[in-house]
């Protein structure tokens, strides 16, 4: 009950201006010239001082991208994106790559403090039990500004750094895994990302190691007219475990900004990755002006037997969300999970879901997706579950529920369920409804006002997903839900 109370309190304290991360950091940035061509790809690569093989890889992707057509099958509608009207690289001038915290521009530190992201290791330590520590990789526009707890993680053998750094310090690992889950040719946005990706996190957990703390990356878009193209690669070697958190925000701007990320996860035998996202990009104003266009390709590959990948996401942000975190269940007995809450309000458009591709024997997957549409938004769940011929004994359970708040929003469910193996058992259920009058009445009877009552019922609706989030995130997520629904009643 305490958490629910907190949610309601949050709703109360927030005024009309809902998005509290919409400030701009005034910092001098180094920008790549506008537009996209081979020279820009070379420019980015040169900025990062990359080896030739990576530049070649980028150029190959760029060549491919030029032959590709922007996909139009999603239920998101937006004016054509001018890919030449963007800066593909932007870095705070004072930060030439990650370094020690003392050297980081105080303006940046202030920004993260304002966002509530602990960058100072001692701050995290103070008064918090050691097992609750979180190591952070902070990515600001196109570069990683700092990564915390690196030394301590290194003691456990864990590699946690920005991907640009990993290219230099662990080229063999990057070379071995980069693009093996999401190939450079995968789709329009993934290919674009492969050509121009800037920064992101790299994680390697050695065999048998349970990562001693939660790892997290915080993405911040600051500069206007830029796109953010981060790339994250996480490898969990045999028998290891890691929990990884991702958060993101952006300033309020009237223009639409592009975010096209690629996340690749690899689990080897008996390894497990738990990947949690709280996506809180600027969603645009109530008229649909501004906001982030979010086109993300996230995919996990359960390569080893009995390995496991679990995606948990809470989505409240971005004007357009086009995102399908997927699992390729290759290893025998491997399992995939997807827990999602997608909340849309205002003019937001969400087309999101997951893919569970069962290739190996006795693979299992579970999908719990909760969509909440309010205002004039459109919220679509699109998911695929498929069993390959050899996926004997595959098992899937899918549950996707939608809740509609108001008369002008839409909620849609588009599942693709493809079974090519008779012993595969797939179950899918979906419901759509509005908040029941009797439930509202019951709550208001007991003295809650209508907004509080809605928050309470919605929290109950999404509880199953919230339970999957790490503790620190669960609280934040609960607050977010209240925030993004504010103003949707009445």
């Amino acid at each position: 009950m305490a958490a629910v109370h907190e949610t309601v309190e949050t709703v109360k304290t927030i005024d009309v201006d809902q998005y509290k991360y919409g400030f701009v950091t005034d910092i001098e940035s180094e920008l790549a010239p506008k537009g996209l061509n081979e020279d820009i790809v070379r420019y980015i690569s040169a900025k990062k001082n990359e080896p030739q093989w990576l530049l070649d890889w980028r150029l190959e992707a760029f060549k491919r991208w030029q032959t590709m057509v922007e996909p139009t099958w999603s239920r998101c509608h937006y004016p054509a994106i001018d890919f030449q009207d963007l800066h593909y690289y932007s870095a705070p001038k004072s930060t030439a790559g990650p370094k020690s915290l003392d050297e980081v521009d105080p303006e940046l530190l202030k920004t993260y403090a304002k966002l509530g992201i602990p960058l100072r290791e001692q701050e995290v330590l103070a008064g918090v039990e050691p097992q609750n520590r979180v190591a952070v990789d902070a990515v600001f526009d196109s570069v990683s500004v700092v990564t915390t707890f690196k030394a301590e993680l290194a003691k456990a053998g864990v590699i946690f750094c920005s991907i640009s750094e990993a290219v230099h310090t662990h080229p063999e690992l990057v070379k071995q895994y980069l693009g093996t889950v999401v190939p450079a040719t995968d789709n329009f946005y993934a290919t674009l990302n492969s050509a121009v990706f800037s920064d992101g996190s790299f994680v390697y957990i050695p065999p048998g190691v349970k990562c001693p703390m939660e790892l997290s990356t915080y993405f911040r878009i600051n500069e206007s007219k830029t796109g953010q193209f981060e790339r994250t690669l996480i490898i969990a070697d045999k028998g290891s475990y890691v929990s990884y958190l991702e958060g993101c925000t952006a300033p309020k701007r009237d223009e639409n900004q592009l975010h096209a990320a690629v996340v690749e996860l690899v689990t080897l035998e008996d390894a497990e990755i738990k990947y949690s996202t709280v996506q809180n990009w600027y969603p645009g104003d109530s008229e649909g002006k501004g906001g982030i266009y979010n086109f993300v390709t996230k995919r996990g590959d359960c390569r080893g037997a009995r390995s496991k990948i679990s995606w948990t996401q809470v989505e409240t942000g971005s004007a357009i969300t086009w995102k399908y975190p997927s699992c390729i269940l290759r290893g025998e007995g491997s399992s995939g999970e997807f827990y999602s809450i997608a909340i849309s309000n205002g003019m937001q458009q969400v087309d999101s879901g997951t893919k569970m591709i069962h290739l190996g024997k006795n693979t299992t997957s579970k999908i719990i997706a909760k969509g909440i549409a309010a205002g004039k938004s459109d919220n679509t769940y699109r998911g695929q579950v498929s069993a390959h011929r050899k996926a004997t004994g595959a098992r899937n359970f899918t549950n996707c529920d939608s809740l509609l708040i108001g008369q002008e929003c839409g909620a849609h469910t588009i599942p693709y369920i493809e079974s090519k193996n008779s012993s595969a058992v797939f179950e899918h259920e979906a419901t759509t409804s509005k908040i029941a009058e009797d439930q509202l009445f019951y709550c208001t009877q007991r003295g809650l006002n209508e907004e509080e009552a809605v928050a309470l019922i919605v929290n109950g609706f999404v509880k199953e997903v919230l339970q999957q989030l790490p503790m620190e995130f669960a609280v934040e997520a609960q607050k977010l839900i209240a925030i993004s629904l504010e103003g949707s009643v009445g």
Binding site: S402, L404, I417, S419, S422, S423
Partner: protein
């Protein structure tokens, strides 16, 4: 940005375009509807994998050529004994109504071409907002079929027996438009049969215009020949307080696609859609529905059962649309599939597209093999495995067949299930 990919015309597309050019002046009536439908086809071509609603059934690839439409010569052979006692039969030979215009009970029958030319019937009125390539092709070419009307308050039952026959590859485009008056009660039983081992193409559309308070039971039996490409569509519009139960029963054709487009035109209408599909060998059967709740207070129930054996592939695509003002809609959809062999496959796509907040909609889809526990239970009681499997499959399908209220017809369908399962045991 590269230019969008322009697909080359397939030989079948070219042949259809040439045919339309040749025949358009002699096609009976509905000139504007035909021209508009054909223009849409000419622009989009045959629907292939890239078209979302045809993703699992690639007509562009399946329709390699276009066969001629031919009249039936000589005696018709009813090979399949599809008749049911107590339901008057009218026969359509390669789509053409065999009896003269006239009354059958309370129902009035006319040749489609005569009704179109006289302006008594129109094409596409039951389609609502539905837009479909297969229907467009039918609209462009259909000259055979019937216009059937049942006056308000009357009761009628009819068996429309479609017999397709020829000794070389052929095509059939037929259209039946049924207008049911207010408060009338109609039982409409369609059967479709054709020659085995002969590749033929059928594109048959039935339009049902159901007026206020009318009650219709519609049963469609597809036992087309084993090399047929059988495309069929039921388009129905439901008036206020109307009730429709429609069951599609498919065991025939090499490739079949049965589409159902329902539009709610009046409030408080009730819909019960059912389907039983049994396929084996290399058969491919696709059932695609779009239930469009355009007005408030509509109720829809969909229950589809698919049994897949051999290397066959089953497809179910169901979409429930609830329009912005269609409040208080209650829609429930279920698709259950049984895979009886290792090579069998099933693709389910149950969709919800909802724009109104005060609705209750749900869908469920399951897919799996027969329950080993249930099999064990039956076998422990002395049933051979094959019999135990047959019993479970029959029970599985019965749930959908239950909605057929005409006892003779329900038993005839149950018998077909039985025969299909017996053939499985022998094999």
């Amino acid at each position: 940005m590269p230019a969008p990919v322009i697909q080359m015309r397939t030989p079948a597309e070219t042949a259809l375009i040439e045919r339309f050019e040749r025949e358009k002046s002699s096609l009976p009536g509905a000139k504007d509807a035909r021209a508009a439908a054909f223009a849409r086809f000419e622009k989009a071509g045959l629907p292939g994998r890239r078209v979302e609603s045809y993703h699992y059934t690639d007509i562009r690839n399946l329709m390699r050529s276009v066969a001629p439409e031919v009249p039936v010569e000589g005696e018709l052979i009813h090979s399949q004994h599809v008749g049911v006692e107590g339901i008057p039969v009218v026969t359509f030979a390669n789509g053409r109504l065999q009896s003269a215009s006239g009354m059958i009970g309370a129902a009035k029958l006319e040749q489609l071409d005569a009704a179109l030319l006289a302006g008594a019937a129109e094409l596409g009125t039951a389609l609502g907002a539905a837009n479909d390539a297969i229907v467009d092709i039918n609209t462009a070419f259909a000259s055979k079929g019937a216009f059937i009307s049942v006056p308000a308050g009357e009761k009628a039952s009819l068996h429309l027996a479609f017999v397709d026959h020829h000794d070389s590859a052929f095509a059939v485009h037929s259209r039946v438009v049924v207008s049911v008056g207010a408060g009338a009660e109609v039982l409409l039983y369609e059967s479709h049969e054709g020659p085995d081992n002969l590749p033929y193409q059928a594109n048959k559309v039935v339009e049902l215009l159901i007026s206020e308070g009318a009650k219709v039971q519609h049963i469609r039996l597809n036992i087309s020949g084993n090399k047929a490409l059988a495309l069929s569509t039921l388009a129905a519009s439901l008036g206020a307080d109307a009730e429709l139960m429609s069951l599609g029963f498919t065991s025939g054709a090499e490739t079949s696609r049965h589409q159902v487009f329902i539009t709610y035109a009046g409030e408080n209408a009730k819909l019960d859609l059912r389907g039983t599909t049994m396929i084996r060998g290399r058969q491919h059967a696709d059932t695609t529905l779009v239930v469009d709740h355009a007005v408030p207070h509509g109720e829809s129930r969909e229950l589809f059962k698919t049994v897949v054996d051999g290397e066959a592939q089953g497809v179910f695509q169901g979409k429930i649309i609830v329009r912005p003002h269609a409040q208080k809609t209650d829609g429930q959809m279920a698709s259950n599939a049984l895979l009886l062999s290792d090579e069998a496959g099933m693709s389910n796509k149950p969709e919800l597209e909802i724009f109104a907040d005060d609705v209750v909609c749900a869908h469920g889809a399951t897919c799996g093999a027969l329950d080993e526990n249930q099999l064990f239970y039956l076998m422990a009681r002395g049933l051979p495995r094959a019999d135990a499997e047959a019993l479970l499959v029959e029970a599985f399908l019965d749930e959908a067949l239950d909605a057929v209220t005409h006892e003779g017809l329900r038993e005839a369908l149950a018998e077909r299930v039985h025969v299909w399962l017996s053939a499985r045991k022998v094999a």
